[in-house]
Symmetry: C2
Subunit: 252 residues, 2 copies
DNA sequence: AAGTGGTCTAGACCACTTG
DNA sequence: AAGTGGTCTAGACCACTTT
C-alpha cells in the first residue's frame, strides 16, 4: 500500500524503526538542529506516509532514548544538552545531605597530546594520534570536589581552541553539540576506588592516598560512536555517586 | 461507553494507568505469582473491557518497569528474581578484563539486632525496632571481592531463620519474593570511596585502609516501599562498578 | 480559537514459538 | 495448526499551551 518509501531497510526491519532512523538522520545531517521543534505529528505521519500511531511509536522510542522531548500542547523538540539535561542524565554526584547542585567548573589546563593506549581504546582510535586533553576542577558548595580529565579526538574537534573552550556559554556537551555537531546521547561509566595522586591531592585540597572515587566515562553519540573519554576523581567525604537500579533497555 | 468498571480512579487518571494498577494489585495479592503467565492480550483486553491497544499500553509500561516480561510467541509473564534478573538489574560489578560472572555467595553471619538510625531511615521504620542483619562474602574468580552487609525489617520477614536463608535454592531476592511475597522492583545506590575497616580487611584479604568502593543500596518494592538496606564493600583492584547513562524514567 | 501532543477504539495482519 | 505477542491502520476525541 506504500509505494513511495525510499529506504525502509534501515534499522531492525519494521516500519517504525525505519522512521526512527530517518528522524535521527535529519538530526545528524543538521536538518533538525538541537532545540528545534519537529513538525506536528499529523504532518509527520503524512510526510512519512504512515498512520499516526506508527509515527508516534517511532517518536515514543526516541523520547525514551533521550533524543527527542515531547511537551503536550507545545510540540516535540530535539533535545538540547543544556544544564537541565546535564544534571538529569550526566551528573550523578549528589550531596549526602542537602540539595543537588550544579557544579562550578574551572579550567586547569588545555593541551594537545598523543593518545595513550587506554585513551585510544576508549575513543576507538589509534594510539599516538592527536587528542585534546583538558583538565577541570569542579566545585560544589564553594569547595573543589571533582577533578575531571577529559580526552577527545582532535579530528572530531578540528577548530577547538583553549579560548573557545573556556568561553563557551553553556555546558561542555552543549559545546560539542552546537559547535561540532556531536550530540552526546549516552555513556558508560566504570567506577572504582583509588588513592588520591599528587594532582588530585593538590587541587582538591586533600591528603595524598585519601580514598577517592574514580569514574571512567566513555560518552557516545549515535551509532555508539565514542565522543569523549573522561576520568573523574571525586572526593566523596560529603558527596555520593547516585545510581538508580531499574530495568534497562539500551538501543540506537 | 464503559459502565462496568469498578475503580478507575487508581493511579494518574487515564484508563491504561488504572489497568496497570489492577495488574500490579493482582501480583501483590498473589493472584498472579512470580513466573506466572498472564492471560493472552485479547482475553485481558475483554476482561478489562478496553481496546487491545489500551491493554498493550498498560503492559508496555509494566514491561519497561521490569515488572512483566513479554516473549513473542510464548506469552507475558510476571518477572522472577532469578539469577539472570539479578545479573541484569542488580549486580553491576564487572571484571575490568574478562567476562561478567555470577558471584559465589558465602554466609558469614545472621543475627537479630535493633535498627540503627541509619538503617531505620533507609528502611522507613523506627530506630530500635528489630532487624535481621546478614553478612555475606561474595567471591569472583575464586577470590573474595565483596563484603555485603544486609539489614531487613524483621516484621517483613517474620519466619526467616538462618537455616532458611542459608539453604535458599536461588538468589536472595528470589527468597524475598517467593517465601515472603516481597518483589524487589528497583533500588537506589549511593556509591562512595572508603578505607577498608577491620572486617573488610579480614574477609577480603587486603590491607586495612586500602581504598574500597562502598555501595549503599536501598531496594524497594511496589509503592517505593523499602525492603532491604545493603552496604557492599567492594575491592576494585580488578573489578569495576559499571553504570549506563541513559535518560531515565522512573515510575510505579 | 487554534495548535500541539495524549488517550482510546476496533479492528487486520505479521512474526514467532510450541505441540 | 494453534496460540502467543508485534506491527500497523484510520480514525475520534481529550488535555494542555499559547495567542
Amino acid at each position: 500500500m506504500n509505494e513511495t518509501f525510499t529506504s525502509n531497510v534501515a534499522r531492525g526491519s519494521s516500519l517504525y524503526q525505519s522512521i526512527k532512523s530517518k528522524i535521527v538522520q535529519e538530526i545528524q545531517s543538521g536538518i533538525l538542529m538541537p532545540g528545534a521543534m519537529l513538525p506536528n505529528e499529523r504532518d509527520l505521519s503524512s510526510r512519512f506516509d504512515v498512520a499516526i500511531g506508527t509515527l508516534r511509536r517511532a517518536v515514543d522510542d526516541l523520547v525514551a532514548e533521550g533524543i527527542l522531548i515531547r511537551q503536550q500542547g507545545r510540540g516535540t523538540f530535539v533535545v538540547l544538552q543544556d544544564r537541565d539535561r546535564f544534571m538529569f542524565q550526566y551528573f550523578r554526584i549528589s550531596a549526602r545531605q542537602g540539595q543537588r547542585e550544579f557544579p562550578l567548573v574551572k579550567l586547569l589546563s588545555f593541551n594537545k597530546a598523543r593518545a595513550s593506549i587506554e585513551e585510544a581504546i576508549a575513543l576507538g582510535m589509534q594510539a599516538g594520534q592527536p587528542v585534546l586533553k583538558i583538565v577541570n576542577v569542579l566545585s560544589l558548595g564553594g569547595k573543589p570536589v571533582i577533578l575531571d580529565k577529559i580526552a577527545i579526538a582532535q579530528h572530531s574537534f578540528p577548530s577547538l581552541t583553549k579560548e573557545i573552550f573556556k568561553n563557551r556559554p553553556g555546558t561542555i556537551y552543549e559545546l560539542y553539540q552546537i559547535q561540532f555537531g556531536l550530540t552526546v546521547i549516552g555513556g558508560v561509566e566504570r567506577v572504582r576506588a583509588a588513592a588520591a595522586d599528587a594532582l588530585a591531592s593538590e587541587h582538591l585540597g586533600i591528603a595524598q592516598d585519601q580514598p577517592l572515587l574514580q569514574i571512567n566515562r566513555v560518552a557516545h553519540t549515535f551509532g555508539n560512536q565514542a565522543v569523549e573519554y573522561r576520568i573523574s576523581m571525586v572526593n566523596t567525604e560529603e558527596f555520593d555517586y547516585v545510581s538508580h537500579l531499574h530495568s534497562q533497555s539500551t538501543s540506537v
